[in-house]
Symmetry: C2
Subunit: 179 residues, 2 copies
Amino acid sequence: MAKKNFPLSDVYRLLEPGPVVMVTTAAKGRPNIMTMSWHTMLDFEPPIVGCVISNRNYSFDILKATRECVFNIPTLELAKKVVACGNTSGRKIDKFKTFHLTPADATCVKAPLIDECYANLECKVVDGKMVAKYNFFILEVLKAWIDPSKKKDPRTIHHRGNGAFMVAGETIKLPSKMK
Amino acid sequence: MAKKNFPLSDVYRLLEPGPVVMVTTAAKGRPNIMTMSWHTMLDFEPPIVGCVISNRNYSFDILKATRECVFNIPTLELAKKVVACGNTSGRKIDKFKTFHLTPADATCVKAPLIDECYANLECKVVDGKMVAKYNFFILEVLKAWIDPSKKKDPRTIHHRGNGAFMVAGETIKLPSKMK
């Protein structure tokens, strides 16, 4: 998928609506994927993001050690693979191979991009003070990529619990002073 | 609107999809409303939530002083009022009166519920350590309310920046082990 550079100042527009994210990490050249929805923007520019990654997840130890990951944002076509990644552990399988997802090289981090996702955000941990108490990592987005064909109305999926997902519907525009 | 008690263990199902929230506070009996999208779940039960409220907002000082607020979740019919609340400051106007919204008494906090919102979460600040650096408040949800008629497929709105909102579409169900 031919991705283009996406301005860092607009990263909040991708995450603020609350999509499910596939977080990729890499330990010693071995990539992993986990499904995650507990994230929030913390600042606009540079874009700072907070997210919860449970210490029961394989990705927790990798992220703590490498301090690098990629937020990959999937759309509806990938829903089954998103759930499959959430139902399995990288301790036991290579999720890229098992679920036929394509790793692509990132620019700023060693963790791979998931090529099939419409947007990818390369991140590094900038503050780990909340990890011990809340499993909450604070990350800076260093580089962002987007598939220009899906930029307008991405059919992102939003977890409603127990495998129920709300699929993004229409976009409306209202006169707003809010950023 | 006749609301029912909503189980605290299911609160994550309301917030995890990333809806815009109207945060109500009250200072000396004077209520206020602000529009907010930068929130994340931090734990399931008791439900712990993190959110960013900028120190430029009037609500910041009230929340810091009273340590209480309500997260009110609006649906599409309220979109214009959501934006109106985001475009104005409670320093200058009473938003309940100006935008014809109905305050209702909460059970556990002094901040009011917005009756027109389909769900309301009464919250108290449980950790303020991240406020100075990130304007990030950590709250426990003490009590949750829902309009049972809108529980199934709420048409929540999700901010995409600059007054563009994605409206929640259909819900799909996939076999998942994820909570």
